[in-house]
Point group: none
Chain length 398, copies 2
């Protein structure tokens, strides 16, 4: 529906995404949430003066989203229709450059004995070991049948790989036995178009086994999450806004790139994020600013760290709002409650700073968001609401 109603104007829309923002009352901290506990004068003053509150459901009731669906839905893409594959997310997270036609995969070093995978994680070897082995492989196997291999080490036994050359298919089963003490697994094509990709990836696995045959621990490799850059209409096509992503973590810049957003720089900290916003404010209508530390603290179950991350984010909010955006949205891609130490299904607190003075008159936290005037909506509906607040949507029908 929206595509027929889009207007263009000078409105600036900023999404400040605090990853994993939502939380639940914490029995160890007087049943407060980090958002309730945090001292966040800038956010709360905005909330009181011109904030309307609500909640967003990333995918559906009871569904815990990964980072891919969490962000796709924030930007108005139905996460049950569009998908960013695991291999793609992995290479994006390692700041690798993903191109059209590339085949991406997550990879593990593993321990193989007599054709059996006896340890899928190769004793969780140290990162520097993985770095050494990746360098070895890169040098020895730069390409296979004209397809270039790009390998980057991750943490512990993990690495990621891109196969580049022509339009490869990701219609492949995992080359992973998924349990220890099973035979080495190879990929199989799920459709005819993937036959070459299957031969290619299996050749790689065999070449690595040959290359590492004298290694004591990490002498094999598993590949999984084969995926190509998804075919997704770009953000600019969808909303007639040029979009800039500003994120310290590679994965989120990568997701933004998949949606066709621009990424100009790689900020080291929040202050640099604001600087990038200011420097590019004239050239874009939409800004996606991503803060990771709230999620990390939630994953660690570290309540004080999550409070601290929120307070540090709050310190840049006045500088952001000084740019006078027509719409400032503060929310998360999903909840990561400290008591759960992981992503969860809980609706995510949402605050929209209005340009009309409309307000709910409440500070920003989970409990107030339940009774906010926006109500509880799906994340994929948020873009329509943001466009409406920016007066970028025409009336529907006469």
């Amino acid at each position: 529906m929206i595509s027929d109603l889009l207007l263009t104007n000078d409105a600036r829309v900023i999404f400040l995404i605090l990853d994993g923002l939502g939380d639940i009352p914490n029995p160890q901290f007087s049943y407060l949430t980090p958002l309730e506990k945090a001292k966040k004068p800038n956010i709360d003053n905005l909330a009181l003066e011109r904030g309307v509150l609500g909640r967003i459901i990333p995918v559906d009731i009871g569904i815990t989203p990964g980072s891919g669906p969490g962000h796709l839905s924030l930007f108005g893409y139905d996460p049950t229709v569009y998908e960013i594959g695991r291999g793609v997310l992995e290479v994006l997270g390692l700041n690798m450059d993903l191109q059209d036609g590339d085949l991406a995969a997550r990879a593990n070093f593993c321990t193989v004995r007599d054709g059996v995978v006896i340890d899928r994680r190769a004793g969780r070897i140290e990162t520097k070991e993985t770095e050494r082995l990746c360098a070895l492989i890169s040098q020895a196997i730069p390409e296979i049948e004209g397809v270039k291999l790009i390998i980057r080490p991750g943490k512990s036994h993990r690495f990621a790989i891109i196969f580049r050359g022509g339009h490869l298919s990701d219609k492949l089963t995992d080359a992973d036995p998924h349990k220890d003490n099973r035979p080495v697994a190879y990929s199989s094509p799920k459709s005819a178009e993937a036959e070459f990709s299957s031969i290619l990836t299996n050749t790689f696995i065999k070449k690595v086994q040959e290359l590492l045959k004298d290694e004591k621990v990490a002498n094999g490799v598993l590949l999984r999450g084969f995926s190509v850059k998804p075919d997704i209409p770009t953000f600019t096509t969808r909303y007639k806004m040029n979009a800039l992503a500003i994120a310290t973590y590679p994965m989120y810049r990568g997701i933004a790139k998949v949606l066709g957003m621009d990424v100009k720089e790689e900020p080291k900290d929040y202050d640099e994020m604001v600087k990038i916003l200011k420097n590019n404010y004239d050239d874009y209508q939409f800004f996606f600013m991503h803060i990771k530390e709230t999620d990390t603290a939630g994953e660690d179950g570290n309540f004080p760290a999550k409070v601290d991350a929120i307070e540090r984010a709050d310190r840049i909010v006045s500088a952001i709002y000084d740019m006078k955006p027509d719409v400032l949205v503060i929310t998360g891609d999903h909840s990561t409650p400290c008591p759960l130490k992981g992503h969860s299904w809980h609706p995510v607190p949402l605050m929209v700073v209005t340009r009309t003075g409309e307000r709910d008159g409440m500070v920003f936290h989970e409990k107030n968001c339940v009774s906010g005037s926006i109500g509880t909506i799906y994340s994929k509906q948020l873009m329509s609401l943001a466009l409406a607040h920016g007066f970028r949507l025409d009336k529907y029908g006469a």
Copy 2:
């Protein structure tokens, strides 16, 4: 689903629609909304004694509806499936009688020089000028190729036209250059069935140009929003209730007629509306009462006028409720917040007066409606709720 569950009984259902009722906290009036500010003892007593509150979303989150979709959805018609065209709404608004097969269009007088439209609004000529020119055209061009022309002047440079004769098609492009200083535009058929309609409408445009060639300002005409009466199942078919529309403004009587509701009289004021309700109370099960002034005040950004319109509506509420309807619904077709001076996407406050004494115990305004027991629903779901309160829906399943 509803069609299989419909029961018939003696229940009377009244929808009192305050057009554009919803509003937002107004910075110039202590952040109140007109509905909060208004003294409305009858509505609020009903609300406190037996009112349940909630909100309705006319089309979707962030979508601002026109009057057509706003009303279609109130009556349970999905506004993304059913559509009332702009031309049809215009002729209804001018109290013209629309028949099956009629082709309706909105029209402007414009200024043409050397085949170029130099002013699409003919200097916004006065209404009486438009009246004179419409009379001239009606007399000179009563019909074209057996198709009767019915013309009625609107305000300023605007008028509306019905082409009547056979089943004409509305699959036509606008005969409107849409910008000044472009050549006179003619309609083109979008499909083969519209070829005759295209010739017909373009012949009309040329005849008018010939007729008005000596006029100094208004010497041409633009036609747009070509539409025919939509093919919509009638309200009575859908809900097994005879319905009467009671509205002071022609457009809303017209929309009701398109849905097959009866319109008996044209009330001049709210008291006459109540009189019509009383006189016809035995003959109908559903009554659509429409009040326009709330929307007009919102469009004007006139907070006190909107408060006044609500207070005046309140004065007839006790007379309406004296009829002992089984269900009285008070809501709007959309929001028209004074600060925005136009329709908006904001959910619309909703109050349903129950027959069981069920109540939320809160007075009726936007903020209470956020936490009302009905919750926030889509307007197209409201009819089911009203039928339920009237015990006109059977149990679903065993």
